[in-house]
């Protein structure tokens, strides 16, 4: 066994973590407040839709995913005071009115014949954008100073990837005709335009682009 009194480097040779990160405390809190807002809107919508979809397998998936996003909202809610935001509600806002418009359009479908639109909005537009924003945040955070955010991002991303895969497979199983494919695509285009106007779930700069204005 090595001599326990022999000095060792604080970072082992395999530990390549570095101090610099792209976000200061304020910017991290701003983004996390927007994440909480969108995760809340998403779990509420998924919960509301459960009763409106006749497909039993979809009904059960929406109920399951509803909790995943509620849990993400809770993770972000608990992180905010740790970033000096003692009133988390103040940060729980959309980044701009365009994202509010996106959520309005996302949650518009209600009829039992609109399962395709409901799923496309979540699994082909919102969740991919959420994965993108979380990945950008993860890859640009200081692995030492903001390790708690990184841990939450990783936990949330794991759910997002799993849920995205579930949702995509459900959509593929529902698209039986050319007309349905066109419906799905048209709804995706409509929502994608609104999301583009918002600049992503955290506004312009959600994935690093668009900040120059």
């Amino acid at each position: 066994m090595a001599d326990p009194r022999k000095p060792r480097a604080p970072f082992a040779p395999w530990d390549r973590r570095e101090l610099p990160g792209a976000f200061d405390v304020e910017e991290s809190a701003r983004r996390i407040g927007h994440y909480k807002w969108i995760e809340m809107r998403l779990f509420e919508a998924l919960g509301g839709w459960v009763a409106t979809v006749p497909e039993l397998d979809v009904k059960m998936r929406l109920g399951t995913h509803c909790y995943h996003h509620a849990w993400h909202a809770e993770l972000w809610h608990k992180r905010l005071p740790e970033l000096r935001e003692m009133n988390p509600d103040r940060r729980t806002v959309p980044p701009n009115e365009h994202l509010s418009a996106f959520v309005e359009a996302l949650t518009e479908p209600e009829a039992p014949e609109q399962t395709i639109e409901k799923l496309v909005g979540v699994y082909r537009v919102l969740i991919p954008h959420t994965i993108a924003a979380y990945t950008y945040h993860l890859n640009n955070s200081s692995t030492i100073t903001d390790a708690p955010t990184i841990r939450s991002l990783r936990l949330a991303l794991q759910d997002e990837f799993d849920d995205w895969r579930d949702g995509e497979m459900l959509i593929e199983s529902l698209l039986e005709t050319d007309a349905e494919i066109e419906r799905a695509a048209a709804h995706q285009v409509r929502l994608e335009k609104l999301m583009r106007a918002a600049g992503g779930i955290a506004g312009p700069g959600s994935i690093g682009f668009g900040l120059e204005g």
Binding site: F43, W49, V50, L56, M60, G63, T64
Partner: protein, 286 residues
């Protein structure tokens, strides 16, 4: 998507047929004893010893399945129908989202169990009273009606089914029911805790909620299907209700309501039998 979805808008595939509670309970395959079996006071608890045990258990499992679907829908709607902060606390919504996940798993479990018991989805009809209780515009009434009354009934049902599995030597059924029972105790506890927290300092609102709970409790004791009496197919699971935050007085209250529903039905049946006997005698004389 609108707030407060009416019961008529519940989305179902073509296998589901929705009927009233009375129609559902009059299905001869239900857990209530059939017309030829309730002429005298005797134990009707759902056990493998009952002659109609197979159909009654299958019927109950299908009832659990549709109940879980509606419970999932109700919990989900509470996430959507109310504004966070102004109408319900954020933490309450998180609990309802958690409940939605639990109920989704219960739908999965009950689908598999129903299949295991030889039942197809839609073989029995559905009544939507559970979701109706989840349609109140007051979140406190939803907690009282759904989490306290209906999830409380679920505790009773799962306990009975778990015991049925034990008696039948069916560890598969017993195992699954025990897991669902653990979740239901959690849901009732959530309801008990939130009801007390939200109505703290507002006794009138609490009374109104408890009154609503009583109405739902009595409704779901339909004809004495659930009570302490062994004439009821489903027993009252006192111990698990205690774990879920019911006080002794509250459990006694549910017991009284249930027994009163059972007695009403027994008296009504006796009266109908007397009328029928009188009619037969009258017909013979003429």
């Amino acid at each position: 998507m609108r707030k407060f979805l009416p019961v008529a808008a519940l989305a179902r595939d073509e296998r589901f047929t929705q009927v009233s509670m009375a129609e559902r309970m009059s299905d001869p395959r239900s857990t209530r004893p059939g017309p030829g079996e309730d002429q005298r006071r005797r134990p009707n608890r759902l056990t493998p010893a009952r002659r109609d045990a197979v159909d009654a258990a299958r019927s109950l499992m299908h009832g659990i399945f549709v109940g879980e679907v509606q419970a999932l829908e109700g919990a989900g709607r509470t996430c959507w129908d109310f504004e966070t902060g102004t109408e319900v606390p954020f933490a309450l919504k998180l609990d309802m989202a958690r409940q939605a996940w639990d109920e989704a798993r219960h739908v999965e479990i009950s689908c598999k169990l129903a299949d295991y018991m030889g039942t197809e989805i839609g073989e029995f009809s559905e009544n939507t009273v559970l979701f109706e209780a989840a349609c109140s515009h007051d979140p406190v009434l939803r907690l009282a009606g759904v989490n306290r009354a209906l999830e409380g009934l679920a505790i009773d049902v799962f306990t009975t089914m778990k015991e049925f599995g034990e008696l039948a030597g069916d560890p598969y059924l017993e195992f699954c029911e025990d897991w669902m029972l653990a979740d239901e105790v959690t849901h009732v506890k959530m309801g008990s805790d939130w009801l007390r927290r939200i109505t703290d300092g507002d006794p009138a609102r609490r009374d109104q909620a408890l009154e609503f709970q009583s109405v739902v409790d009595k409704l779901f004791s339909y004809g004495g299907v659930r009570s302490d009496s062994d004439q009821s197919p489903i027993g009252l699971a006192r111990r698990f209700r205690e774990l879920a935050g019911f006080t002794d007085d509250e459990i006694d209250h549910v017991a009284e309501l249930s027994l009163s529903a059972l007695n009403e039905t027994t008296e009504k049946k006796a009266s109908l039998r007397s009328q029928a006997a009188a009619a037969i005698v009258g017909a013979d004389r003429s």
